[in-house]
Symmetry: C3
Subunit: 127 residues, 3 copies
């Protein structure tokens, strides 16, 4: 088991690694719509926030030798089901032909200013 | 890694596969109380909704050569903890002797008319 | 696949195992701030509840030949983001140098009197 660390995604704000690699899988910590400098992106703009959050997931996957096209399972938390269509649209655009297992879960709040959080599991391609 | 696809569970409403098989595991997308034709089943009837949602999980597992008796970990999202006892009862009935790891998580909403969503990981039996 | 069972963590209140071992991984069921006798610990005391919940996770991991230092991925559900800092502090204390992947997800409710629930995946060390 080893942690993933990249300057291309936000530094963890708490006691966690950006991701962990074990047994041919990468477990990606819950990512927020925050850029690599730690600034929240696109407050109240779910399109921009979805894009930034997926970019963070992608940066962590790449640092582990993986990528969005190796995602196996994705859990998307959103602050209201009203965001579903827009999240799905941007997600489809960034994932292209690849369609992992997915669940979209409405929650009452995330971090103030954040409408979305994404947790994911991917293959490293080495297994 | 390959996607699971069956006509016995609802067609994905968004950019995801019903399930994904990788490394001897099946990752099942969040299933709703929707039948294979896309109709919500048992509005405000948590028993009927739990049954339908588990049937969808089962159909996807079977299409992957797995089954409810190979579930490893199940996450059940419900719109209020008041549903817990009834969900547990139907779940116990359908799973029989098999008891995977499980978490039941209350959420503020799912899809309108839906009280439950189930995400799961099972073994294919091939690993 | 085999279930984990220990008297050092609460007896499951429903149809689930405390944990399941498969393929070198331990999947731990959602743990609550409940002691091994079934009593809720530290009502309205997030520090005590975080500590008890992690102790339950640890007891289940140990019964599977694993431990907190083998955690791969942790999902922490809390009844309000206001608990984040205190949860993170206790979590850091108990995990020490080890930093698994993690997501902290606010939810509207857990069990009455409970502010936290933790779901986890760890390695057995045998894989």
């Amino acid at each position: 088991m080893h942690p993933v660390s990249t300057g291309d995604a936000p530094t963890p704000a708490g006691h966690y690694a950006q991701g962990v690699v074990h047994g041919g899988l990468v477990f990606v910590s819950g990512q927020l719509p925050v850029d690599a400098r730690g600034e929240i992106v696109g407050i109240d703009d779910i399109e921009a926030q979805t894009r930034q959050t997926l970019r963070n997931v992608e940066a962590i996957l790449r640092a582990a030798g993986s990528g969005l096209d190796r995602l196996v399972s994705v859990t998307i938390y959103i602050t209201g089901r009203r965001h579903w269509a827009e999240v799905n649209r941007v997600y489809a655009e960034l994932l292209g032909a690849h369609r992992p297992a997915r669940a979209v879960i409405p929650v009452p709040e995330i971090k103030p200013g954040c409408c979305i959080e994404i947790q994911a599991v991917a293959t490293t391609g080495e297994s």
